[in-house]
């Protein structure tokens, strides 16, 4: 438990006055992600602690530097969970980095993303002002939704100080079934099952097998077992943990790793190399040497965009934006951080 918000605020004010950019760092577990930014390091890990967690209100408010592990432990102890299964990608992951990157795990298509569970934030904007948006209630439409806007902004719009999350009860039971099939049939099976009212909470394909996880009451999960067939995966928790943390064997190679976010039922995207499907078809990991243009075009044809996740040209991490959209992004950056001191260039060169 430590409140260093005033010191952080002072650093931002100084940086603003001197027009010197800041590089915001939490646990540094996702330092590899996105574009690089130069700047004096602003370490927020020291701003930590769970401020309020009330299981029956389904809300947890934490300081951004709090280790993600600590928050998850506290919630698990009350039989609840962060439904978006955020990947830690390192021991030191903090809650702030989790929100700034908006990376979500296998449960995402069924339970929602990090962004979906942000209820409110306290931030320092680029003018060094401490501002609060949203709150600790489930529904709040007073003012523009600047809380969810922080998710995925990679710190370019504000230094996160506190975040309030919606949390939910953990399921009584989970079961994973698997069966061998082709990639095409995996995609269609994932989607046709998701169109039926069953308690699916994960669907992945590793190149050989289709894995489907069910979560819910005992009887609901048992019923799913009967309806869907296939073999029960023994070390299921470990399997999903490896998928979530990108520690599954698929992710071991050295070649560039791309994340293609596409429409879930988009047909198989053929690229030279190997692929792994998560999010019930909506997240396609691709590892291989295809050039960036080709990968991006493939993602667009699937209704989405591609992120150069790791091992490639960091300067081109994210899909280029259409001109008007880019203009709005620049205007928003100007609105939140007029001196361009917060993680400049981390998301796009112009921001």
């Amino acid at each position: 438990m430590n409140d260093i918000s005033q010191a952080l605020q002072q650093r931002v004010i100084d940086a603003m006055n001197r027009k010197k950019p800041l590089k915001i760092v939490g646990g540094d577990s996702k330092a590899f992600y996105g574009r690089e930014t130069a700047g004096e390091i602003l370490n927020v890990a020291g701003h930590s602690g769970i401020l309020n967690y009330e299981p029956t209100e389904l809300v947890a408010t934490v300081r951004a530097g709090t280790p993600l592990r600590e928050l998850e432990q506290a919630i698990r102890a009350q039989g609840q969970m962060l439904p978006f299964e955020p990947p830690h990608l390192g021991e030191t992951a903090t809650v702030g980095g989790t929100v700034a990157t908006n990376l979500s795990g296998p449960r995402r298509p069924y339970a929602g993303s990090v962004r979906d569970h942000v209820l409110g934030v306290k931030i320092i904007n680029g003018r060094g002002e401490i501002l609060t948006f949203g709150g600790e209630v489930m529904k709040n439409v007073a003012g523009y939704d600047l809380s969810r806007l922080m998710a995925g902004a990679l710190g370019t719009l504000g230094v996160l100080l506190e975040i309030s999350f919606k949390v939910v009860p953990a399921p009584h039971k989970e079961l994973t079934l698997y069966r061998s099939c082709s990639i095409t049939s995996a995609i269609s099976t994932m989607n046709s099952w998701a169109a039926r009212p069953y308690p699916i909470s994960g669907a992945a394909f590793d190149g050989e097998n289709l894995y489907v996880r069910f979560s819910g009451s005992d009887s609901a999960v048992d019923a799913a077992r009967k309806k869907f067939g296939g073999d029960e995966l023994r070390d299921a928790a470990d399997f999903w943990q490896r998928v979530r943390e990108l520690r599954h064997g698929f992710f071991a190679g050295r070649q560039p790793l791309w994340r293609l976010s596409v429409a879930p039922a988009a047909p198989y995207i053929e690229l030279p190399g190997k692929s792994f499907i998560d999010w019930g078809g909506a997240q396609r990991w691709y590892m291989g040497d295809a050039d960036a243009e080709r990968v991006r075009a493939a993602a667009v044809s699937g209704g989405g965009h591609a992120v150069m996740f790791r091992g490639g040209d960091r300067a081109q991490s994210f899909q280029p934006l259409a001109p008007v959209i880019l203009r709005l992004h620049k205007n928003l950056k100007q609105a939140m951080d007029p001196m361009n001191i917060l993680n400049p260039g981390r998301l796009y060169a112009a921001l």
Binding site: G112, G216, A223, G303
Partner: protein
């Protein structure tokens, strides 16, 4: 109460020039400017606020919307978008020097993609029409505002509307994938994607709930969910509102997130019962309606568990709907609560605060004290699961001064919600109505940040001027600028 147009939002528009310019780009039947034609547009669901626009434009194509916005941009004319006009905060209240842009002609469901479980619809499509169109595929659109037979999906996006099922299935923001939007400069852009996320900032989240202040939505891609195998509702009666409130927390503590969890107090129970004869226990101080849905097996498990929790929480009666017909009956009273209250009072005023649920007893007590103080009755209807309160203040607009008294009373309720850590609006939006209470919830730096965001999309301030975010001048006049963190009230008044 007429809409007070504050001086920060004055425009100088030449009516004849404007009509001439719009007539050049719109067919004759898409442009209204005679007084009697304008009257139907003078207010939204908050009929106490009325204002005639200069003209009403009712385009039928995206190109026409673009042309209207281009023209308004060039001529510095304010534009207020309007969906079905069911909003309860005056969001679609016209600007007296502006164009009221109706999206009512955009009524088609463009496509339903069963593979990806999504639908592409035009903004004027009614909320319920989406679920009806998806029904043959055993899919539906989850957010279900009580106004769903009338309200438009464009309005839902602009307000981030919720419904009785949003505790489990989320609000509009959780159930849309993509928008097509026209900027004030007339550009057509796409926000979001057919994928679950998109590159760059989350403009989709920012647009949702932005009350027509940032752009005009001309197409929406919504997510569809599989229709649950079964849904069943329990009605529980309590002799004490506080016990009913505690029961809500107990259900959640049991690890169950009901599909819907609604509460009504005595006055609303009685009004609803007189109106629709749902068989509600009229002697009860409060009832809870708790719906669980999912697979057959899960619903059976949860019904048993919820019944036990309710009894343990002191319910004096617990009924489970036996079939679809009875389920519909249980819900009928709740869904008709507003019109039912409308029958027992000449007028009513609906509030929309949201609070952390644990403060329900305090807030109810506060409302009841205020009710005595103002001499006005209140019927309480809540989305109890997520702490969203809809106190309905009963008044008679024909009694001189009563409307003003009601408004003041309503404002006090909202301030009470903010005091306990809640918000002035859970789902109805700020619009024109709660503009003063925004000064209570946010400090001047936060309000200034909102204005800067608005400026990023609409430099000239032409989209829905004067709504949603108060100017600092206005807050100074209202005398309630929130000061916290030691921030000065008006450090840079003239920033925007």
């Amino acid at each position: 109460m007429s809409a007070t147009c504050d001086h920060d939002h004055e425009f100088h528009v030449d009516r004849d020039n404007l009509i001439r310019a719009l007539a050049a780009i719109l067919p004759a039947d898409a442009l209204l400017y005679e007084r009697e034609d304008l009257t139907p547009y003078e207010c939204d669901g908050l009929s106490a606020y009325r204002q005639l626009p200069l003209v009403v434009a009712i385009p039928t194509s995206v190109e026409q919307v673009q042309a209207v916005l281009c023209t308004c941009y060039a001529m510095n004319v304010p534009v207020v978008a309007r969906g079905a006009g069911t909003g309860l905060s005056g969001g679609a209240l016209p600007h007296r020097q502006g164009v009221l842009l109706s999206l009512a002609k955009f009524k088609s469901i463009i496509s339903i993609d069963t593979g990806n479980r999504s639908a592409v619809v035009q903004p004027g499509v009614r909320n319920l029409a989406i679920s009806e169109a998806a029904k043959p595929h055993q899919l539906y659109y989850a957010p279900d505002p009580s106004s769903q037979i009338a309200c438009s999906i464009g309005g839902n996006v602009a307000e981030n509307s919720g419904g009785v099922h949003c505790l489990k299935y989320g609000l509009t923001v959780h159930n849309i994938l993509k928008l097509k939007m026209v900027t004030i400069e007339g550009e057509l852009i796409t926000i979001g994607a057919d994928a679950l996320d998109a590159a760059g900032y989350d403009l989709l989240a920012l647009m949702t709930g932005s009350e027509g202040m940032l752009g005009v939505i001309v197409e929406v891609t919504v997510k569809l969910l599989p229709t649950p195998e079964r849904a069943q509702v329990i009605l529980a009666a309590f002799d004490d509102v506080v016990k009913a409130g505690a029961a809500v927390g107990n259900i959640i503590a049991a690890g169950i997130i009901p599909a819907g969890l609604e509460m009504m107090d005595k006055l609303s129970i009685q009004a609803a019962e007189d109106f629709v004869h749902a068989g509600y226990p009229v002697d009860a101080e409060a009832i809870l309606l708790c719906e669980v849905d999912g697979t057959n097996e899960e619903v059976s498990d949860h019904i048993t568990a919820v019944r036990e929790v309710l009894k343990r929480s002191g319910a004096i009666e617990v009924r489970t709907a036996r079939d679809e017909a009875e389920r519909a009956t249980f819900w009928k009273g709740r869904k008709a609560a507003f019109p039912a209250v409308g029958r027992i009072s000449p007028d009513y005023y609906c509030m929309d605060g949201t609070i952390p649920r644990k403060h329900l007893p305090t807030v109810l007590k506060g409302i009841s004290d205020l009710s005595k103080e103002y001499g006005l009755r209140v019927a309480n209807v809540f989305h109890a699961g997520d702490g969203n309160l809809h106190p309905l203040i009963l008044y008679n607009a024909n009694n001189p001064g009563e409307l003003e008294k009601t408004e003041e009373f309503g404002g006090k309720i909202l301030e009470l919600c903010v005091e306990v850590g809640g918000t002035i609006t859970g789902e109805h939006g700020v619009g024109m109505e709660k503009i003063n209470q925004m000064c209570v919830q946010f400090n001047s730096a936060e309000l200034t940040q909102f204005h800067a965001v608005k400026h990023a999309f609409d430099e000239k301030g032409l989209l829905n001027p004067g709504k949603a975010v108060p100017t600092l001048h206005r807050c100074a006049e209202f005398g309630a600028t929130h000061v916290h963190h030691g921030a000065l009230p008006f450090p840079e008044l003239e920033r925007f």
